[in-house]
């Protein structure tokens, strides 16, 4: 059986008395695009730097294609890295930036030249080969940084928030290009970001980290649909997760959860649902809330405090008691100047979390 492309076995990292990463274990398959997602200070960049060899391990081992690498210096690991601020050599032309790693790895001149030109063609930067980094725009520098990694043809790419210095328009273009290139080249990639949109769009699988501990590992859609705990749900919600206290009740055989903003019912007898009487935290993503604007008697209305138009969608901000309520609704379903809205419980996706530890207790679409 072939070993995984990259395997972390109980990897830990301390800086003095500060624990940065704890018992991190993960297997990444050959050719997989794996994203580490988390807020700053969660340990994701440390994982990347340890994989590159730029940081030592305090515990555990990292295996690259089955070989332990924690004692191999970075210059002898077959790994290329794209840095957040590109780290292009300022005194070298684009061509020499790309040639540097090849020359150090003893690639013959003719072959190196062919590879540089091919890679430059792939990234549409042929016309920039004679320029120095300071003569390039941010997006161009980013492409050169990618080119410098690609031309090496390594067994692993590491990418440390490579898009964070780009403006929004360029960022989405380069994001698409990175995904496309990675598909085409089939090189295993470990990508670090704090941007959940990047993680969702790029990853084959991803891991969500918080304070040095893995919260959840899986394909993006699975993590989105079934967040393992309240932290993951909050981190993957835009602009923010609505959270309310709730109580599980039984009503003529059906389970339901009662909250300040409405009552949500299980369609089928709630499989694996918390027992009646349990008190829980209820999370609803803005886009998972169904909104109605006709004022029906007996349905609680929420005053619209702020409207944000995103283009095809509209964010409506309101309050229920002390808790903020945000919804995300298709723009054509919203009247010109909405003053208040109601929530249609049926069709809302509901996430239940333990009131103490925040672990997920269940996810369902309300009937």
């Amino acid at each position: 059986m072939t070993p995984p492309a990259l395997r972390f076995a109980g990897v830990g990292k301390r800086f003095g008395n500060t624990r940065v990463l704890e018992d991190f274990s993960l297997e990444i398959a050959e050719g997989e695009f794996f994203v580490l997602l988390g807020p700053s200070g969660c340990g994701k960049t440390t994982i990347l730097r340890m994989t590159a060899g730029l940081e030592s391990l305090s515990a555990g081992e990292i295996f690259l294609r089955g070989e332990p690498i924690s004692r191999t210096p970075p210059e002898r690991r077959d790994i290329a890295m794209v840095f957040q601020d590109y780290a292009l050599y300022p005194h070298m032309t684009v061509y020499k930036n790309m040639a540097f790693g090849l020359r150090r790895h003893g690639v013959p001149h003719v072959e190196a030249d062919a590879r540089i030109r091919k890679t430059a063609g792939m990234l549409a930067i042929e016309h920039l080969l004679a320029r120095r980094p300071h003569q390039l725009s941010g997006g161009q520098q980013q492409r050169v940084a990618l080119g410098r990694a690609i031309v090496r043809d390594p067994s692993l790419y590491l990418m440390d928030e490579p898009l964070s210095n780009l403006d929004a328009q360029v960022r989405s273009t380069v994001r698409t290009e990175i995904k496309e290139l990675q598909r085409r080249l089939g090189v295993t990639t470990l990508y670090v970001t704090h941007d959940q949109l990047e993680a969702m769009t790029l990853a084959d699988r991803m891991a969500v980290l918080h304070e040095g501990v893995v919260q959840q590992i899986g394909p993006p859609i699975e993590i989105y649909r079934k967040p393992a705990n309240e932290f993951v749900a909050r981190f993957l919600a835009t602009p923010r997760l609505n959270v309310f206290d709730g109580a599980i009740e039984r009503d003529s055989g059906h389970l339901l959860v009662r909250t300040a903003i409405g009552v949500f019912r299980w369609a089928a007898p709630g499989l694996g649902a918390p027992p009646a009487g349990a008190s829980v935290r209820v999370g609803l993503r803005p886009e998972e809330i169904k909104v109605a604007f006709a004022s029906n008697a007996g349905v609680s209305q929420f005053p619209v405090e702020l409207v944000e138009l995103l283009g095809s969608q509209v964010l409506l901000f309101s309050h229920s008691g002390d808790d903020q309520l945000v919804t995300c609704t298709p723009a054509d379903a919203v009247p010109a100047q909405p003053t208040s809205f109601a929530i249609e419980a049926a069709g809302c996706t509901v996430h239940l979390f333990d009131r103490g530890g925040g672990d997920a207790l269940g996810h369902f679409v309300s009937a």
Binding site: A52, P74, E75, Y89, P90, R104, H105, R148
Partner: protein
Amino acid sequence: MTALGRGRPYLYLAPTLVVLGAFTYLPIARLVEMSLRAPGLGTSLGAWTGLGTYATLFHNPLFWRALGQTCTYVFISVPLTMALALGLALLLNQPLRGLGVFRTLYYTPVVMPTVAVAALALWLFNSNGGIVNYFLARLGVSPVPWLVSTTWVLPTLILVSIWKNLGYYMLIYLAALQALPLPLFDAARLDGAGPIARFFSITLPLLRPTTFFLSVVALIASFQVFDFVNLMTQGGPSNASNVLVYFAYQQGFSYLQLGMAAAVSLVMFALVLTLLGFVSWALNR
């Protein structure tokens, strides 16, 4: 724009230009004039002699000897100082404990008065009973005639001036090293560059502006070497440590040949300018 408005920038520049003119450019012009005449003491500039003074100068074997010894001094002390300063800066750029103490220690000689350093060096390098020879003797090395041998005197002066000035060059290099972006070195490591390749491919090229600045400063300073010569050897023994500035000083103030002293100063001025031009060309190629 009014005439006053157009003239305004020059008005602002005037104070500086006046001071520079009075104390730099005018004296240089006067120096040129002096070298072309036969000035005596007092205010008289004497009769015009044309290039006669220069002809006499170029026929003086001591001038050529002083020039040769100055060049030896410059071309050994400048590269050696720069290399040692960079080496030290690289060592002191490590994240180790107690480095602040070392940085201070290496910088101390820079702030010491030259006279004190010269006195200290005279005592250290005394051939009879100097402490350096004492320690060499304990290691089984026979006494070295540091300041009294024509072979050893120039190397000894170079040694003393390096010891005195190293800290300054080290400090500037250290500041430059600390300003280099660290991710570049991470990138170079992942590109397969070991410590030596990283030094020659990344560190050294990125330090080029600093190297340029320091070589200019070092070239000018070492061409003007005078104080240690005057304080420690007076050009001796038998002119083995006579250098251009000391030669000019002797001509002007010992033999009262002011025209000759002016001519020597101007030749040196031209030499330094040429050298700086070369350094500038070499480092900005």
